[in-house]
């Protein structure tokens, strides 16, 4: 029988892995780690879900999770990718949202829950000066999960994790 504290520790190790493209947030903050299963033989199975189908960070995250578990003494690890249920920005934790904002990235607004609708985000606040006077520059950004905005008050450009 695997003790609950060991299982909790293993999960904590997985969730503490930094995101390769936004290293100030962890994969736990982003809600990418869906399940961590530890069996009696010491085998660890980690289930992750990609943010977007083609996100190039997914392969790096997989390797980083394996490396992190290995450095904590778990060498028998498999990481499985699950597409369903599909990742949503609603799974980003409150701590993750705070870290995004503190690093100049506007966190996503809540989703409508209807996959067919592209959510219209009202009042994306500038993460630098807090002004709601911002303008969408591009619906696509530097990574698959971001859109580009500009603050019309402090004039700084910034990224937003787009509601997904």
């Amino acid at each position: 029988m695997v003790s609950a504290s060991v299982a909790t520790d293993v999960r904590a190790v997985c969730e503490s892995v930094p995101d390769p493209e936004m290293p100030f947030v962890t994969v736990g903050d982003l809600g990418i780690v869906r399940d961590v299963i530890l069996d009696d033989a010491g085998h660890v199975e980690v289930v992750v879900t990609p943010t977007y189908s083609g996100c190039p960070a997914t392969a790096v995250i997989r390797d980083d999770i394996v490396a992190a578990l290995r450095s904590h003494g778990h060498s028998d690890v498999t990481v499985r990718t699950a597409f369903a249920p599909a990742w949503t920005t609603d799974w980003i934790t409150p701590a993750g949202r705070e870290k995004l904002a503190a690093n100049g990235i506007a966190p996503p607004a809540p989703r409508s829950g209807d996959a067919r609708l592209v959510d219209v985000t009202i009042g994306v606040r500038c993460p630098n000066c807090g002004s709601p006077q911002t303008k969408l520059v591009s619906r696509f950004g530097a990574t698959p999960c971001m859109a580009m905005y500009r603050c019309t008050e402090c004039l700084e450009p910034f990224d937003q994790v787009k509601p997904h």
């Binding site: 990609p50 189908s53 190039p56 591009s138 696509f140």
Partner: protein, 262 residues
Amino acid sequence: MTAKISAGNTDPMARPRFIYALRLGDDALILAQRLSEWASRAPEIEEDIALTNIALDLLGQARALLDYAGTLEGAGRDEDDLAYLRTEREFTNVHLVEQENGDFAHTIARQLFFSTYQLALYEELISSTDELLAGVAAKGVKEAAYHNDHATQWTIRLGDGTDESHRRMQAAIERLWPFTPELFESDDVDRALAAEGVGVDPSTLRSRWALSIAEVFSSATLEAPQTTWSSHGGRRGVHTEGFGYLLAEMQYLHRSYPDAKW
């Protein structure tokens, strides 16, 4: 390379499922390849990023589908073997996705036609009894909705824009219109899998597609094309002239340096 595909998997339903996963994967892969040709060439930096982001989403869908197709086939081929080592006649994508980028209006018209179809398809495929197909659809439907919104907004902006942008957008939809009926063609594979709850019969998506496209044309002040001929054969491996050039570029590196690693 021979065109013969060995049947290593003995489950009788694995074969149609393999063909089906390959078709959906090929559509996504080839459109991703076309869109990525815009990298560093789009009319503005934001669109350069947009088109390549859309390509990346489609490539991700293609990888999952081709990887699954390889598993179903059971002949030891992985996603790379299927993408890089098949010949032209072995690709089963529709003609629409292989059409050249043309000017920006042509790329947007192709995006509008395909994303409207793919959105309708994935909405249905979410309910598939096949866990992998349902998962790809659940993830892809959100991406397709975003791609569709992007194409719709550009179609309206260009169609209801200046005389020149209207003329070009109208020319683009007329040029690509004959490639749209093929999206809704169904054969025994589609019908068998639809009856089993695994796949979607594409012919059932046509009316929804037509309605959505008509709405966009109306907002964009575009006239529905009156062309009567249509292009067919992609699902059987018969392709249009530009496809060979696309494959040559896509496969060159892998064929010249097999198993090359970054």
